[in-house]
Amino acid sequence: MRRFFEAAGLVVSIVTLTSCATMSVSSHVQRGIDFTRYRTYDLGPADALPTGDPRLDRDPFFQDHMQGAVVRQMAAKGLEHSTSGTPDLLVHYHASITRQIDVNRTDREHGYCYDENCGVRTVEFESGTLVLDAVDTRTNRLVWRGWAQQAIGDMLDNRPKMARRIDAAVARMLERLPVGRIDAPRRDVGTGER
């Protein structure tokens, strides 16, 4: 019983914090290779790893939308979707959901408090991570990994919202993939972006 109260005290409230809703995007990259030689790609075999949330496991809506978003963004970068023969790159994705805890630091920094004692408000939220991997088919090595993390809240119950979030996440991740047209937007690789 005491443990229950401790847990209840920890999870004071489940609210959507604006700080949690910010999408965090970054990437790792294989250095010292020429990414301009990659011109074709295909989507790798479907990911069989569990997502951490049964609502998302083998969800055809999610998988279709995810693949569609990758195909659109890769086309926008000037890469050719090769479904016959060996492509230069295989792109895999993985989605996972974990429970995370946040505290009301932002509010306190600005001198606001939720109560007279200026107590700490702790919130538990579901954090979603989308990972995109690009594998060189000649070496079978990972040459780039991008990810996007965000509190997902009620997204699993809201299909249009999920679709918009996937589009935004895939676009921002693939902005960081250093391939394709010269005029494609590029960012410094390997620097954290919040």
Binding site: H28, T98, I101, E109
Partner: protein
């Protein structure tokens, strides 16, 4: 939500910003390192090693699961540090030692001690990603763990920057293997 009495934005901001900076800096720098050798075992009696074949394990952070950039860096740094301590990387057959590592990340809540004499000290409670890197040396003949070393510290913001992650790996591996005696 209400405005807290006696804590205005203009007065509190520099203090809290400073406290936050100090806390963040301390959190990044702190690395707890420990190790133990199995009873009666002296890792310095072993001379050659090879990497243990391992199945992919989950780390608790999807950014690091099956991340070859992370994996390559850890192995390269362990190889360097073992070489610096006189250990020799052996061909796949007949090494004295098998080396394996495991990385895990989980969220921790940091509750700092509050100075009761300081009315401004509200104690900034924070959450951060705590990482543990573990290095095992195993005797392949007996399958017994000979030596285990680990480093624990905050990975907050360190994974999103590849350079920061690599520096963190190098420092953790070096500090762990600093505790390993030189081979005789």
């Amino acid at each position: 939500m209400q405005r807290s009495p006696g804590l205005t934005l203009s007065a509190a901001a520099p203090v809290i910003a400073l406290a936050f900076l100090v806390m963040t800096a301390a959190g990044c720098a702190t690395l707890h390192v420990n190790s133990y050798a199995a009873r009666g075992m002296d890792p310095a009696r072993y001379h050659t090693y090879t990497w243990s074949p391992t199945d992919p394990e989950t780390t608790g952070d999807p950014r690091l699961d099956s991340n070859q950039f992370f994996d390559t860096r850890v192995r390269a740094e362990v190889d360097d540090q073992l070489a610096a301590r006189g250990f020799e990387k052996a061909p796949a057959s007949g090494p004295d030692l098998l080396v394996r590592y495991h990385m895990s990340v989980r969220q921790k809540i940091d509750v700092p001690r509050i100075d009761p004499t300081d009315p401004q000290d509200h104690g900034e409670v924070g959450v951060y990603d705590a990482g543990t890197l573990l290095i095992d040396l195993v005797d392949p003949r007996t399958d017994q763990l000979i030596w285990r070393g680990w480093a624990e510290g905050s990975m907050e913001g360190e994974i999103d920057s590849q350079e920061a992650m690599e520096r963190r790996i190098d420092r953790a591996v070096t500090k762990i293997l600093d505790r390993l005696p030189r081979t005789q």
